[in-house]
Symmetry: C2
Subunit: 482 residues, 2 copies
C-alpha cells in the first residue's frame, strides 16, 4: 500500500477548505474506534465534504492516487464497518456535514435526506408535516441516513414496515470511479433494469459512497396501545402474535420477546425500573399496536385479544399501558436490556435470524445445546420474534473472569452458535451487517456461489478495491502503486 | 454466432427425456411470439426442465457450447422479454414444468414456489391455508412466478403491498456458469452483504434463470368494500386517496383511475357492462378498502369518507357495491379496459411513472401537449394513480388507418411521451420492464452512469453474454466460437 502523499492531502485540503479537512489528531481521534470499542483504526486525515460534488472530487482524487476511502456516518454500527484500517493506509470520509433534508412531501409520502441527516431529526421533520418515518432504533440520536441505508438497518418496527431497504425509494451515490449515480427519483414503480438502489443498500460502503436517499413516509397513527404480557414459552408468543395480526390487519408494529433473565438484569441494573407484572414469567413480550383515525381503538382491540389469549392459556398475565408515561416505561424496559447487559459485564453477542416459525424451537433447543457444550454459561435471548431475529447473547459462568473468558472461549462459543444457525438455514447477521467483526465467520460459513457472485460484483464496480477495504468481503485493496 | 450443433441437441434430449425436450415445430410454435404479437422469434428446440438440477445441466452444456438461452414462463409479458431472437441462435427454456409449491406455512406467512407455478394457483394455495398472496394482475391465469419475479411485476395491489420485489423473501436461480444460487431461506432479515435476490428480481433473465422463489403471504381480510366514484379531475382523486389512507391506516388496497373515455370504450365494446353512476364524469376511480376481523367495517368507513368528500366537492357522485357480484361488476369495468382498447384498434401504449404528486398535473398538461403536437389524437390514461403509474395510451385520430398511423407516427409519439416523462424525472417503464420492445428508448434516455454500472454487472456475472441476449441491455452475446 502506498503512503498517502502530502501532495494528495494538500489538494484535498484545498478542495474541502478548513471546515472540511483536518489532520489534527484531536479532531480525528473520536472517529477511529468502533462503537463497541473493540476495533481501533488510524487515518492521516478526516475529510468532511459538504456536497455530493465534493464527495465525487474526493473519490476521483483518491482513485488517481490509489488511496482507499472509509466512509462514516454516526459511527454507531456494531461490526466495525466504519473503522479505518489500523495501518493508516486509508482516508476517513465523514458524511456528517451533508445533513440537509432536500425535500419532504406529505402528498408524496416521501422525503429526500442527505447521508448525514440524523435519524431523530428525520423523525422530527416527518412529524412536522403530519407523517412519520417508520424505522427506529436505540442509536437514533446519532445514527445517520447514509449509514442506515448502507447497513440496511432494522430496529423495532421492522415487523410492519420492513428494514431500511423496504423504505428506500431512491439513492444518490458516488461510485468508485468518482461518477455520480443520480437515482433519487421518488418513483413508487420503476422497472428499468437492475435495481442499483438495492445493490448499494446494505453494501456497507464497499461499492460507493451513499450521499443521499429518498425514503417512504407513512401516515401517523391516530392512537397506539402498548402492552406487556407474561408467557409460558416462545411458541405461545408466536401464536399470540399471529392472532393479533389477524385481528388488527397487521397493525402490530412491535412484538419484542424478553426472557425472565433479561428482565431481571434490567430491574437489577437500571435505576427507576420496576416489574410490569406481579409474578415472574419465563418469557415476556412487549407489544405495540396502532390504530387509524377511522378504525377501532387499538387498546380495546388489544384488551379483547389478550383476554381471549389468557382464556386459552397462551398468556399468563398481561397489562396495557393506561397513559403515554406508562407506555414509555414499558418501552424503557425493552430498550434498557443492552445497557443492563453492559453493566453486568462482557458476553458473547450474536445477531441471528432463522425462519419465524423455527425461532421458538431454536430458543429452547439451542439454549440447552449451548449450556451443555459450555457448562455454566447463561443465555439471554431477546428481540424481534416476529422478524425471526433474536439477539442471542451468552454470558460467562457466574464467578468467571468475564474478560478472560471472552478471550479464551468467545470465538468457540460464537462458532458453535453460528454453526447451529447455519444448520437451520439461518443468518449469522440479521441486522448488524458483516463489517470487520463478522467477516471471518461470514466467509467460513458462506455459500461459495453467493460469495463468488458478490466478489464478481465488487470487482466489476470497484476494480481497484478502494472502497472501504477489509469490510464485508475478504479482498485486500488491489491497487498497484500508480 | 455458431450454429447449434446436433451434438448439443442430442445431449440435451438425453438429459431431459421426451417430456422435457422437443424439436417439433408444432410444439415450439406457440411460444415464439410475444403476448402482444409484435415480435416473432425462432428456436431449434424447446427445453422443459423439471428440476433445478436439470436447469443447471442445461446452462452448463449451453455455456460450454456458447449457445444463448432464453428463459420463458407464461409468456404474458408485454415487452417481448421472453421471445427468442429471430435468427434461431438461442434455445428456448420453458420453466412451466417446474410447477410445484415446495412449502407453504401460515405461521411463517411464507410460501416457496417453483418458477412455473401459475399465479392463480398460488392464490388458491394461499387461500387454502387462510392466507393470501397480495399481488394480482389480469394475466394471473397464465403468468408464472419465475416471470413475475424476473420482471418485478406490479398489478392492482401495489399501493398497499408493493411490487413482486417487496414480496420476495428468497430466490433459487441457476447462474450463467451453471452454478446454483441457493437463496430460498424465508428469513425476514438477513444482512450478509449484497442483496443478490433483489439483483436477480427484475433482471429479466439476463443474469441467470430463476427456478424458485420464497414469497411473503399476508392475512386474509375479513371484509372488503369496493366503490366507484366520479371525480372532477385527477388532483381530486389524489386528495381523496390520501384522505382514505389516513382514515383506514393504509388499508386502501386499490385506487384505479379511469377517465371518461376509457369507461366509454368499455361500455361500447364489452357486452354486459353498464355505467356504474348516473352521469358521465370526466374522471372516475375504482376503490377497494379491506378490513380486519377486529376492525371497523370497511364499507361503513368508505361510505363516511365518500360522504365527506362529496360535501367538500372532491367527489361528484359515488356508489359502493352492496354485494360481491356488484363488486366484481365494478372490477370488471376496470379490468376490461385493455380488451376494450384492443377491440377499438391499435394505439401507442406507454407504461409510465412519475412521482405520485406530479401525476395529476402530468395527466392534464401532457394530454394537452400530445394533442397539440399530434392533432386529432386522443389520450386514454388510466391505472394506478396511487403508485404514480399510469398507462398513457394514445389513439390515432378518428377515421385514420390505425395500423398505418402506428407505423408512421407511433415511434414519434412514443419518443415525445418518453421525453416528457424523462423531463419530469419519471420512468418509461413503471411495471412492464424493458425486454426488446423498450430497449432502444431505454438506452436513448438512460443516465449513462446507470447504464455503465448495469453493463459492468452483466459482464461480471454473464461474461459470455449467453443469458437472454438482446433484452434489457444493448449487448450482443460476446461468445466466441468455442
Amino acid at each position: 500500500m502506498p503512503e498517502i502523499s502530502s501532495d494528495l492531502l494538500a489538494r484535498l485540503a484545498d478542495l474541502l477548505g478548513p471546515q472540511g479537512f483536518t489532520t489534527d489528531p484531536a479532531d480525528i481521534e473520536p472517529w477511529l474506534t468502533d462503537w463497541r470499542g473493540r476495533y481501533r483504526g488510524s487515518s492521516p486525515a478526516l475529510l468532511s465534504p459538504a456536497s455530493v460534488d465534493q464527495v465525487a472530487a474526493i473519490v476521483k482524487q483518491a482513485a488517481e492516487a490509489r488511496v482507499p476511502l472509509v466512509p462514516q456516518g454516526g459511527n454507531t454500527g456494531t461490526v466495525a464497518g466504519a473503522t479505518p484500517p489500523a495501518d493508516g493506509s486509508a482516508l476517513l470520509v465523514s458524511l456528517r456535514r451533508m445533513n440537509r433534508i432536500r425535500a419532504i412531501s406529505a402528498d408524496d409520502n416521501a422525503v429526500i435526506a442527505e447521508a448525514g441527516v440524523i435519524l431523530s431529526n428525520l423523525h422530527d421533520a416527518a412529524t412536522a408535516i403530519g407523517r412519520r418515518f417508520p424505522l427506529s432504533l436505540a442509536a437514533k440520536g446519532s445514527a445517520t441516513i447514509g449509514g442506515l441505508v448502507s447497513t440496511n438497518a432494522g430496529g423495532t418496527q421492522v415487523l410492519r414496515f420492513g428494514t431500511m431497504r423496504n423504505l428506500l425509494l431512491g439513492i444518490e451515490a458516488v461510485l468508485p470511479d468518482g461518477s455520480i449515480f443520480h437515482g433519487l427519483e421518488t418513483l413508487r414503480k420503476d422497472n428499468r433494469g437492475y435495481d442499483l438502489r438495492q445493490l448499494l443498500a446494505g453494501a456497507e460502503g464497499t461499492l460507493g459512497i451513499v450521499t443521499a436517499a429518498s425514503l417512504r413516509l407513512v401516515p401517523r397513527p391516530a392512537a397506539r396501545a402498548v402492552g406487556w404480557v407474561g408467557l409460558p414459552d416462545p411458541q405461545a408468543a408466536l401464536s399470540l402474535l399471529r392472532r393479533l395480526e389477524e385481528v388488527t390487519s397487521e397493525a402490530v408494529e412491535s412484538f419484542e420477546l424478553v426472557p425472565a433473565r433479561a428482565l431481571d438484569l434490567v430491574l437489577a441494573n437500571i435505576p427507576g425500573t420496576r416489574a410490569p407484572l406481579q409474578g415472574r414469567h419465563a418469557w415476556n413480550a412487549l407489544i405495540e399496536v396502532t390504530g387509524a383515525e377511522g378504525g377501532a381503538d387499538p387498546a380495546a382491540l388489544l384488551e379483547t385479544a389478550l383476554g381471549a389469549a389468557i382464556d386459552h392459556g397462551l398468556v399468563e398475565d398481561a397489562t396495557i399501558a393506561a397513559s403515554e408515561a406508562q407506555a414509555e416505561a414499558l418501552w424503557a424496559l425493552r430498550e434498557s436490556i443492552s445497557e443492563a447487559e453492559r453493566i453486568d459485564g462482557a458476553s458473547a453477542k450474536h445477531d441471528i435470524a432463522v425462519p419465524v416459525t423455527a425461532m421458538p424451537a431454536f430458543l429452547i433447543e439451542e439454549e440447552r445445546a449451548v449450556e451443555a457444550a459450555f457448562p455454566g454459561c447463561r443465555i439471554i435471548a431477546f428481540g424481534h420474534l416476529g422478524d425471526g431475529n433474536i439477539h442471542f447473547n451468552i454470558l460467562p459462568p457466574t464467578g468467571a473472569d468475564r474478560s478472560a473468558w471472552m478471550t479464551e472461549k468467545g470465538p468457540d462459543v460464537s462458532a458453535f452458535v453460528h454453526d447451529r444457525v447455519a444448520a437451520r438455514g439461518g443468518s449469522l447477521s440479521a441486522e448488524h451487517g458483516i463489517g470487520q467483526a463478522k467477516l471471518a465467520e461470514f466467509v467460513r460459513l458462506a455459500d461459495p456461489v453467493r460469495l463468488a457472485t458478490m466478489t464478481a460484483i465488487k470487482q466489476a464496480i470497484d476494480p481497484l478495491g478502494l472502497m472501504n477495504p477489509g469490510k464485508l468481503l475478504p479482498l485486500a485493496s488491489r491497487a498497484p502503486t500508480p
